[in-house]
């Protein structure tokens, strides 16, 4: 496995926390290092399972939130 690319860097890369330079190095390593690529695919599969974990609140809960917002709209002087 490419010594300069640590397994933890792969995690940072997967979650978009690497710099552009680090990302380029990792992408290059993934093209040439099958062992690293295999690990990356396993990690991606795990992440993909987490992506499927999505629950939704009931519509009436969302409606209540939006109603509260409408009734308490921000004042215009508080702009960013």
């Amino acid at each position: 496995m490419t010594k300069t690319i640590t397994q933890d860097n792969l995690i940072r890369f997967m979650y978009g926390e690497t710099t552009p330079e680090e990302s380029s190095l990792i992408e290059e390593a993934l093209r040439s290092d099958w062992e690293l690529k295999e690990l990356y695919e396993t990690l991606q599969e795990g992440k993909a399972e987490l992506d499927k974990v999505k629950l939704s609140p009931r519509k009436e809960v969302v409606d209540k939130i939006l109603r509260y917002s409408k009734d308490n709209a921000p004042m215009e002087e508080h702009s960013l």
Binding site: T42, K47, K52, L55, Y68, A73
Partner: protein, 192 residues
């Protein structure tokens, strides 16, 4: 520009300028992720909905009073509010955990506390049950990083600070969690 391509921060600006639909877009964009996070925390669908509502009420109040500071990170800002409300709930309910971290709280010991009577009130669909079953099999410290990174959208530096470990430790826990997750799903032949 379509609403779903507008960055969060721009939507906040539009909302503050009086565009109510911008807030609706923010809510619709993030409600499932925040709700899932709260649910994984409290394990009770009704309580999770209450806390979600309370979270967004706080968001409105803070925006209304000009307290939005983290202009480029709306989701972590909201997630942190949700996290604090979850902690407040358990403190009010005198269900303080026994294991504490740097900020004095271990969210995963709370998860175990809520499994009893709260579960009786809980209406879970099959999907949520599978989610819980899989995540429950991860060691607590791995589960913690998964929830904070994947659902709260905190970066690893923030997670390290919050949980009182080094960044490398947080990264290592995430790596093992993802590998274990794959193994668990394969071993149990579960598809979520």
């Amino acid at each position: 520009m379509q609403a779903n391509t507008i960055p969060d921060n721009k939507l906040v600006q539009l909302y503050l300028a009086g565009d109510e639909s911008a807030f609706a877009e923010l809510v619709n964009r993030h409600k499932d992720r925040i709700y899932t996070y709260i649910y994984l925390f409290v394990r009770d669908t009704y309580l999770a909905e209450d806390l979600l509502q309370e979270t967004f009420i706080k968001v409105v109040d803070k925006l209304r009073t000009g307290k939005y500071q983290e202009q480029n990170k709306f989701l972590p800002w909201v997630s942190r509010m949700a996290y604090n409300l979850c902690i407040d709930y358990y403190r009010r309910d005198k269900r303080m955990p026994k294991v504490t971290t740097r900020d004095g709280f271990d969210i995963f010991s709370v998860l175990k506390f809520s499994d009893g009577s709260a579960e009786d009130r809980m209406i879970e669909d099959q999907f949520a049950t599978k989610v819980r079953r899989i995540l429950d099999e991860l060691p607590a410290e791995q589960k913690e990083v998964v929830i904070l990174r994947h659902y709260m959208d905190m970066n690893f530096r923030e997670i390290a600070e919050m949980t009182g470990v080094s960044i490398n430790t947080a990264l290592g826990r995430m790596r093992y969690a993802l590998i274990n997750l794959r193994k668990l799903i394969e071993a149990k032949n579960i598809s979520i």
